[in-house]
Amino acid sequence: MILKPQLQDLKNIGYYSGKIIIGVGLTMLVPAVIGLLFAEINPALDFLIATEITSIIGLILTKLCFTEEDLNWMQGMIVVSLSWVAAMLLGAIPLYLSGHWGSYLDACFDVMSGFTTTGLTLVQDLDHISYAHNLWRHFTPFLGGQGIVVIALCFFVKGVSGAFKMYVGEARDERLLPNVIDTSRFIWLVSIVYLILSTLVLGIVGIANGMKTANAFFHGACIFMAAFDTAGFAPQSQNILYYHSLLFEVITIVIMFLGAMNFNLHYHLWTGNRREIWKNIESRALCITLLFTFLITLIGLNQVGSYPRAVIMFRKGFYQLISGHTTTGYMTIYARQFINDWGALALAGLICAMAFGGGSCSTAGGIKMLRLGIIVKALQQDLKRIVSPEPAIVEQRLHHLKEIFLEDKQVRAALLITLAYLVLYGIGALVGMFYGYPFLDSLFESTSAAANVGLSCGITTPGMPAGLKLTYIVQMWAGRLEFMSVFTLIGFFIAAIKGR
């Protein structure tokens, strides 16, 4: 029997969602201040209006639904999934007011793309956008990558039990420290330390390449936020191609790696356990899948002969591959070159890399290295079972922060989420084909959206059908939250209609 949600359920969901919405509203003050610093009055006003609307909605929710009860699992999951939708709807207000997005749906698409660290964009005339709006575009992945809920946990949420349920709902099932609020603070510490270091390095490289000082550091900060949080936004429409610098590209590759690394691994390395990086199943799996997909891409590119020189192969072939594998989406080629210059085999290698994704509990999307590692280990265990004498007990171990004995429930969970991702990639490809796009193009763009990558082969443009925009928005949302919160929300609506 399905139970109908009670008033207390709605109050808990409303109260905690309200707190997160207030948090989102306050973050919009950052681009407003930047706008004022650069003497951009109208863009600053866009953000002040959006902050006001968002804060009022958040305050109304917290007052109307005031409760002192802690969240249960179902409520925690629903708060997360609804908060992400609310953040998209409210975060799109300043973008829409700027006039650089063709419709409110386009603005919502870009904000969801930002929060989910995807990087697909529908902005028009990006090269003439204000600093404030450009900062907001890059700030959304910085907030969403670490987790919108993680921000709220740092500042607004006191109840540790309810906090953990929201933390898990946001696809972060590993605690670094015993207290989930301390875990959230460590995640932010890593991000802020790298923000300062990388902005300095990228800024200096920008100045050396002839950029003005303020512009160089602004670009440095924006590029870091989008690279570390594995989103593919860049301040200029030509993306990373704009900088024409090998050094800039190498630095962004390093930042992409850092972003695709499990925060738990960061914690172990930062607390003295430096050997962990060479033993961890995720860093090993990343090396193996990277080598595997790069060889496929390399063979494909050699077949068509697009990049005959080693340096060009590295800067065009490997860069797109690592960008896809870490689910960042930075590009040093134009979108249509994937279709015109790459050939089917190279594209297949890149699609595999995008589908695999980065580390679990990182800012990356996709199936994740830990799940792939578990599936391969389970396969090894079954093979050992077949060749072993019948009464033998075959145990399989894997190293992820500590030695773990592989259990059936871990394999089941890994396989189920992997299957869900594959279905999501497939559904998006079917919708793309429904709108008349070729199979490979549709699969490429769908995988890019669902794995929160952001590489585009040219389908994602302001002129694409609204149905496809909505499909990609849902794919980005479900892919980032890793399905459980989304499934819980669907179950909640079914219970509200059919429950007793």
């Binding site: 330390v193 270091l197 190498v250 930062w270 607390t271 003295g272 080693a310």
Partner: protein, 41 residues
Amino acid sequence: MKIKSFYNAVFGIGTEIFYAVVIILAAFLICIAAYFFNYDS
């Protein structure tokens, strides 16, 4: 204790960057190998 934490964090960052640089160098070597392979053929 604080000095040890700082030391660990700095070397932790160094290890992470070293890991990324090793992979980048490996990829570059593969690109060079592919170039010579193509050149011979």
